[in-house]
Symmetry: C2
Subunit: 222 residues, 2 copies
DNA sequence: GGCAGCCGTTTTGTCGACAATCTTGTTGAC
DNA sequence: GTCAACAAGATTGTCGACAAAACGGCTGCC
């Protein structure tokens, strides 16, 4: 009877949340920036009530911080907090890869293996990072889908919102893209073989490696 | 200058969220129950605007589901979704225990080892589950604190909100409390020895075991 | 009896207004 | 010149009102 159409709420507040999330994630609103209810309400031609409701969601997602009577500002992450995220990220991404392998046929990763072939090497060598970042995003999506675990996907999304821009800056670090590409190829190879445990191990190693670059070049990234 | 007093926002909306969270977590509002803005606003003597803002937070926490023009209801989890949570829970709790051990002295767990001694065995044998559940909650808090990772703590809290009541029902299942106690003692013993890797392994085994009970007795629990 | 359509009621969506609080700029005393 | 007190403006907190949509019961038709 109750048709379980999992309608994504087409609430206008949800749209608002989506846009603001995106802006915060890509540092269009910089960390520490103050978010004025009036400005946002004006820009989107909505009342402050809707903006405030959106802020409620943003706050509980950990993207903004609100202080009573003093407004909302984009959360600013220091190195310690970033490391805390990486600790969690490592195991979550590992789990995600493992589940993805367990839940799908090895052949299904073939196209990704190909896309991370010689062409990608050339792109990275030439510093054409947008291509690389785009493919990484694709792998991320495909893996999360295949893992077939909405709770995990949601958590990874949340982490992604907070680290996306930082990741971009890490990728540009000297030597990082080349090393990262090697690691991603290794992970994909394991996935292609259907070796879930190995893929998980390699993925975790990949995240740890990324973390080390962050640690080493923190002053350039944060 | 900017004293970084991390004031927990004393916003009344946040209080509202806390109360509603708690009610949902302990099934005072049953899964699937409809949440009327007017009723809640009336009960707390606040306007609907504040209730709506709280709903925004609750929704992005995954505790309620809102459908445009049709209101909000408490999320109802089926077995599949519960398993998805358990997959994540297993690795997160494992990580939490590992970090807790790594970040603190082995002696610091002594009091918990004691509290899970003979007395607790007797309690469980006599079906005095409240004592047991209370101690489990204590271990949970202490471990999360010691892990020293706010991101992880937040995720575990979120999971806890969604599974607390189910956990209670699992504990009451025939044989579960006794088996669970044995497992918790093993985990604590490893923590007391300072063996982080072992503690993590045992904790994960513990969660898997709990999951199996859920699977076996799903009709009684869900 | 069953069902489609209508209508009043309930509930949600949205908004603007007002009060409380904070911020900023100015004045004036020392 | 420095600092405190004050005042004006800006920003957030809260509320009630109105519009739009969904719900529920009733009527009347077949």
């Amino acid at each position: 009877m109750a048709k379980t159409t999992q309608h994504i709420p087409r609430n206008s507040v949800n749209d608002l949340v989506k846009v603001l999330r995106e802006r915060i994630a890509q540092h269009e609103y910089q960390p520490g920036a103050k978010l004025l209810e009036n400005d946002i309400a004006g820009e989107f031609n909505v009342s402050r009530a809707r903006v405030r409701e959106a802020f409620g969601a943003l706050e509980s997602r950990g993207l903004i911080q609100r202080i009573p009577n003093r407004g909302a500002e984009v959360v600013r992450l220091n190195l310690t907090q970033m490391f805390a995220i990486y600790e969690v990220r490592e195991i979550l991404e590992g789990l995600c890869v493992r589940l993805a392998v367990q839940n799908s046929k090895p052949e299904s990763w073939q196209d990704l293996v190909v896309q991370f072939g010689r062409d990608m090497e050339r792109h990275v060598r030439n510093g054409e990072y947008e291509e690389y970042i785009g493919k990484l995003e694709l792998v991320r999506r495909r893996t999360a889908e295949a893992a077939h675990n909405p709770v995990l996907a949601e958590m990874l999304d949340s982490i992604n919102d907070k680290t996306r821009e930082i990741m971009r800056r890490i990728i540009i670090l000297p030597g990082r893209a080349a090393e990262g590409l090697k690691q991603h190829r290794a992970v994909l190879a394991a996935m292609r073989k259907g070796d879930a445990a190995l893929a998980e191990k390699l993925k975790r190693r990949n995240i740890r490696s990324s973390r080390e670059f962050l640690e080493r070049f923190q002053s350039f990234v944060l």
